[in-house]
Symmetry: C2
Subunit: 123 residues, 2 copies
């Protein structure tokens, strides 16, 4: 369960972009980013909110999960990518996935944070 949790909090995202309000557009963006990063989706759930129309979504991964929340009314998005390294080192894939997710939103400001999760297993 040793793993890496990356977060990105985005501001200045154009509210009119489909990713900000359309759960199907956001779902496709996330699934394409997962595939491009070489990670493996095992489930997905996207929920649209009523006006002003943000979306919350998650993709469950064989390697843990990603989560996204959009706030079109303030041009904000938060992204989480958490990958465990139980069967290999997925840190580069995590960074690639986060970069691919971010690239769709056209943010003018991004705040990144990271957490090392869990404890390495004794070999």
């Amino acid at each position: 369960m040793h793993g890496l949790h990356l977060t990105a909090d985005l501001r200045g995202c154009p509210a009119a972009a489909p990713l900000m309000t359309d759960p199907e557009a956001l779902r496709l963006h996330c699934m394409q980013a997962v595939q491009a990063a070489g990670l493996n989706a095992v489930g997905e759930l996207f929920h649209p909110f009523p006006s002003p129309g943000g979306v919350t979504g998650v993709v469950l991964l064989a390697e843990s999960h990603l989560a996204v929340h959009t706030w079109p009314e303030i041009g904000g998005v938060t992204l989480d990518v958490y990958v465990c390294n139980l069967h290999g080192d997925n840190r580069l894939r995590a960074a690639g996935l986060l970069a691919a997710l971010e690239a769709g939103f056209g943010a003018t400001q991004v705040h990144h944070q990271r957490l090392d999760r869990g404890t390495p297993r004794v070999p």
Copy 2:
């Protein structure tokens, strides 16, 4: 989108506990904890893995999300609780939710971390 993200990485969780391998037991535990904390679920998704039978799950909240991953083979669990404060200060509810989630697993070791997310809106 200003909010609080709490994580707990648990070790020493009895592998035979239903929460470690039964997605329905874990789902009920999470939903009861959300309700007790005064937060609002808008969706849920739980995925069981084949042998050794861990479970990955999320509950989407009106206030953001919780995520849980279990690794019965090493007695490990990771928990995430992320709540935004867009319509009120949910920090105490986040702490209450995490404590309620943790209480079910009987861990012998817990590692807590926290992230402040996003940026407060200009009043």
